[in-house]
């Protein structure tokens, strides 16, 4: 157990080993560890970001769905309104058409009636003249008595 050159030898070995460790062992291991740390941190951040994006997308989906539902409701509502309107319109048109047909029919009837009346009147005039001629047993001058006859027809 003498103190001798071993002391110096050990010191030199110590210096060489520490130098080697500092140059070739420590830096690659620590840089790998740090790199891994960053990688993990990045991964966790990305996962969180993904979660947030997913939540956002879900929210958007809900929103879009709601909007679509509202729109559908609106369209249905409008369609119903339009349907009612169309029915109303059709009803109006039908009524008008009916009125028109009724009016035309009435006119026709009036016309027919008038024609019948005219015919009747003419026949009555003829009958009246014939009747009067029979009564008077004489020839009635139709031309002379036309005015009287017309008056008679008017009173019919």
């Amino acid at each position: 157990m003498n103190i001798n050159l071993t002391l110096i030898g050990q010191s030199v070995a110590f210096v060489v080993f520490v130098w080697f460790c500092m140059k070739f062992v420590w830096p690659p291991i620590v840089s790998a560890l740090n790199e891994r740390k960053t990688k993990i941190a990045d991964g966790l951040a990305a996962a969180e970001e993904g979660q947030r994006a997913k939540a956002q997308a879900e929210e958007q989906v809900t929103q879009v769905t709601n909007e679509a539902k509202e729109q559908a409701q609106e369209i249905i509502r409008r369609a119903e309104k339009r349907e009612a309107e169309m029915v109303e319109e059709a009803k109006g048109t039908a009524r008008n058409e009916g009125d028109r047909i009724l009016g035309a029919a009435r006119g026709e009837i009036e016309k027919e009636a008038n024609m019948a009346r005219e015919a009747l009147r003419a026949q009555v005039a003829a009958l009246s003249v014939a009747g009067a001629a029979k009564i008077l047993e004489q020839e009635v001058d139709e031309g002379a008595h036309a005015k009287m006859l017309d008056n008679l027809i008017e009173q019919l």
Binding site: M1, L5, L7, Q10, F17, I29, V30, L33, R36
Partner: protein, 287 residues
């Protein structure tokens, strides 16, 4: 006590505590010392071949293994040995971060080297005391002390390295004046210039002792613990020569002491590393 020549207990212990020393004999020739007296006669210019071999071998083993891991280290999923290496590196890194508050790229690798190297050297203590010396004897090597940290040269050598770094960083961070002031202007402080000068010798004495005691205590703590552990292993090994009952008792004791010694081995390596970090932290900070 597996030895061919008749050995006394004292001889056995002495043999185990003798390093394989290479140096110059008094007659001028160079060679390996045969026995403690010859080794002592060689003086300072002799070298413990076994201590140097095992410490360099274990240090190289550590650097080889860790370098292999460092080359393979990626930011991907680690596995196997790389995992183990990363665990140690993170452990050391955490300790350095905890005790060392300055920016210095040397401290963490230094701490890692000391921790693993000292741990490996200490672990040699768990190899049964006669195995490697007996193999060495078969190869014709007379002495073989396999635990470098039971050689004060090894522990002092490392502590000396740490001490030089402490001085270097003290002067680098605080300047020569700042370091000198730290050695002479405290713990006794005075506003009066005359008193200040008067306090210098006392301050210097106290600070110098505390400065020098750091590497001494650092190395002696490690050496003392491991030397004592080794000594107990040697004493337990003596039991194997005392008949069947003592041999069984020796086996049990050896196992028990080895288990307990794992704690010491680990703890001393950790303490050596932590104190190194603390001393360097003190060198970096102003008082």
């Amino acid at each position: 006590m597996a030895s061919s020549e008749p050995l006394t207990t004292t001889g056995y212990i002495k043999h185990h505590l003798q390093n394989l020393t290479f140096g110059q004999f008094p007659d001028g020739t160079w060679g390996l010392a045969h026995g403690a007296a010859e080794a002592k006669a060689m003086g300072f210019w002799a070298i413990h071949v076994d201590t140097m071999f095992w410490s360099v071998f274990l240090g190289a083993l550590f650097l080889w293994g860790f370098r292999k891991a460092a080359v393979r280290a990626t930011s991907g999923t680690p596995s196997g040995f790389l995992n183990f290496v990363e665990w140690i590196v993170e452990f050391v890194d955490e300790n350095v971060r905890g005790s060392f508050s300055h920016k210095n790229d040397l401290i963490a690798p230094l701490a890692l080297t000391l921790f693993v190297w000292v741990l490996l050297m200490n672990l040699m203590d768990l190899v049964p005391v006669d195995w490697i010396p007996e193999i060495a004897k078969l190869m014709g090597i007379e002495y073989m002390k396999v635990v470098p940290t039971t050689d004060p040269n090894a522990t002092f050598g490392m502590a000396l390295g740490v001490f030089v770094l402490t001085l270097y960083y003290s002067i680098k961070v605080k300047g020569v004046g700042g370091f000198a002031a730290e050695l002479t202007m405290q713990p006794f402080e005075a506003k009066n210039p005359i008193l200040k000068v008067l306090f210098i010798p006392a301050n210097f004495f106290l600070e110098f002792v505390s400065l020098v005691s750091k590497p001494v205590s650092l190395s002696l703590r490690l050496f003392g613990n491991l030397f004592a552990g080794e000594m107990i292993f040697i004493l337990i090994a003596l039991l194997f020569s005392g008949g069947a009952i003592l041999a069984v008792a020796g086996g049990v004791l050896q196992w028990a002491w080895a288990v307990f010694h794992i704690l010491i081995v680990l703890l001393q390596a950790f303490i050596f590393m932590t104190l190194t970090i603390v001393y360097l932290e003190m060198a970096h900070s102003h008082h």
